[in-house]
């Protein structure tokens, strides 16, 4: 028996060594492969912009050179940073509220079939509603101020988040639920330990989409709702246009773009990759 166990153990560990693939190339190489093309694309974009300026298609105060835009940004870091902070904190507050509301609605819909058949298509419908269409009503309700923006941001982001949970839960393989049930997980325990973790990758895509809606609604709001005491990027954009400072207009737009890339691409993108890798949905 002991001899047999040892033989079996040796055979199994040999087989395991053959079966398990070696770790892939290092982090540095992977990072380089990701970053280099992006840097190249940015250089090409700036080059094309400069070509457009050189072609004199529009006078230079309408299409300024990328370098004068960067120069303006360098001269006004304070107002750009504080406006970015105001906009981001508005966005984060709205997003947090949307996660709570959308999350609760999503879990309710995913776990109670009657609620699902009553509300499910309504949530999808809400998602297709352009957020700017909410502003007139929001202004009637809350006046020209923070609350109107917050309302539209939440209404814009919550359906995506709810939908993310719902489709995430729908896609949980029945086998995993069965496995959970045989292990004694039912009801809330099943939801907490099996269904929600299994749904996380799809839920995270919903979060990402929710943030995109949130960000769009927010910038639209800051342009439409003019009487704001805290000046965000939208307000700054509008002001630069009104004062015919087109270099500043470009500068704010570049700032908005860069923030979008950082939050959406870097933050959400990195977490998305991390989750997908951990859940075994992509090659390591």
């Amino acid at each position: 028996m002991v001899v047999e166990t040892e033989q079996l153990s040796a055979a199994l560990s040999g087989l395991d060594a053959l079966d398990v693939v070696a770790a892939p190339a290092g982090r540095l190489r992977r990072a380089r492969a990701v970053i280099l093309p992006k840097v190249a694309a940015t250089i090409v974009f700036i080059g094309l912009w400069q070509l457009l300026v050189a072609s004199k298609w529009k006078p230079e105060y309408v299409v300024p050179s990328p370098f004068s835009v960067l120069h303006w940004m360098g001269q006004n870091p304070g107002s750009l940073l504080s406006a970015s902070w105001v906009t981001l904190s508005r966005g984060l507050l709205g997003f947090a509220i949307a996660i709570v509301i959308g999350g609760a609605i999503g879990i309710l819909n995913a776990s109670v079939p009657v609620v699902r058949s009553a509300m499910g298509s309504m949530i999808t419908g809400l998602q297709t509603m352009p957020s700017i269409a909410w502003y007139p009503l929001a202004i009637v309700f809350f006046g020209l101020g923070e609350h109107a923006i917050l309302f539209v941001v939440v209404v814009g982001a919550a359906p995506s988040i709810a939908n993310g949970i719902m489709s995430g839960v729908d896609q949980v393989p029945p086998l995993l639920r069965r496995a959970g049930r045989t292990m004694g997980a039912r009801g809330l325990t099943q939801l907490r330990y099996i269904v929600l973790p299994a749904a996380l990758p799809v839920f995270f895509s919903g979060l990402k989409q929710g943030w995109a809606f949130c960000w769009r609604s927010l910038l639209a709001g800051e342009i439409i709702v003019v009487a704001l005491t805290n000046r965000g990027l939208g307000t700054l954009l509008q002001e630069n246009k009104d004062f015919l400072n087109y270099v500043g207009l470009y500068g704010v737009m570049v700032t908005i773009f860069v923030l979008g890339v950082i939050v959406d691409g870097v933050l959400f993108g990195t977490f998305d990759q991390l989750i997908r890798r951990r859940w075994g949905l992509v090659e390591a």
Partner: protein
């Protein structure tokens, strides 16, 4: 229970049935659409025994295990199970977001077991038992199919079942891995005294592993024959004794399948 491999443990435990089915019938749907999955199955699985169930497609093998696992209720008939069951599937059904260790720990937690430190130690021991100690921190998708099934076995054993139900657990594995897992399962079973009810379509596998092979008919599933396997353990799937008996079981199965032709 003593860790002998010569089959004597079977006789010692044959006194009491771990699972008893009498006239168990399971139908799905209603009216014209009513399909009889299994029809009046009588079966006694002695405590501590290793019982294999073979049958062709449509014999209701998986339905039978679901009934014993308590995932479904029989339409009619009586079913009794002594103690807890754990079910293992053809696919490992491991949770991909947890490490192998995490999977086993979750089983212990859901069983209602102990503190976090104790769970970790117990999970580790279960993984050592299936020779996966070195891979405790790996995730299911980072290891091979055979290793996943061993982790699933560790997870099932961590539920401390009196009856281990296995639904074609090695069906998707290559032959070398399967042979080794047969050996591992046999050793674990003989040292732990768990009753095993093992469903397969592989006749040789059934004879290799079982104290007894139960042949089921198809559509609906009924018990056609129950064949004792007197071959002493440890057995080899290549041995002529296994091959001879497997041939007999296969003939019986083929007879059953032929009834469904024209």
């Amino acid at each position: 229970m003593t860790a002998t491999l010569d089959g004597s443990n079977t006789a010692a435990h044959a006194s009491k049935a771990a699972v008893t089915l009498s006239g168990v019938t399971k139908a799905f749907g209603a009216g014209n659409r009513r399909v009889l999955a299994i029809d009046g199955i009588d079966l006694e699985v002695p405590t501590g025994s290793f019982t294999c169930i073979v049958g062709a497609s449509g014999c209701g093998k998986s339905t039978l295990l679901s009934l014993v696992a308590g995932l479904e209720q029989p339409t009619s008939g009586a079913l009794s199970v002594e103690g807890k069951t754990a079910l293992m599937f053809q696919e490992s059904a491991l949770f991909s977001w947890l490490t192998l260790q995490g999977n086993v720990e979750l089983a212990i937690k859901l069983r209602g077991g102990t503190s976090k430190a104790d769970r970790a130690a117990e999970a580790r021991a279960m993984l050592e038992l299936v020779h996966l100690g070195d891979f405790a921190r790996h995730r299911p998708h980072e290891v091979s199919g055979g290793m996943r099934q061993r982790a699933a076995l560790a997870r099932a054993l961590a539920q401390q079942p009196e009856v281990l139900l296995m639904d074609e657990p090695f069906g998707a594995l290559d032959a070398i891995t399967r042979d080794l897992l047969h050996e591992e399962l046999e050793q674990l079973w003989s040292s732990r005294g768990t009753t095993v009810l093992f469903v397969t379509h592989n006749v040789r596998e059934a004879v290799r592993l079982g104290d007894r092979v139960v042949v089921l008919s198809s559509r609906p599933g009924r018990v056609v024959e129950s064949i004792d396997v007197p071959i002493p353990r440890p057995r080899r799937i290549e041995s002529s004794a296994v091959a001879d008996l497997a041939a007999h079981v296969a003939d019986r199965l083929r007879e059953e399948v032929s009834r469904h032709g024209r």
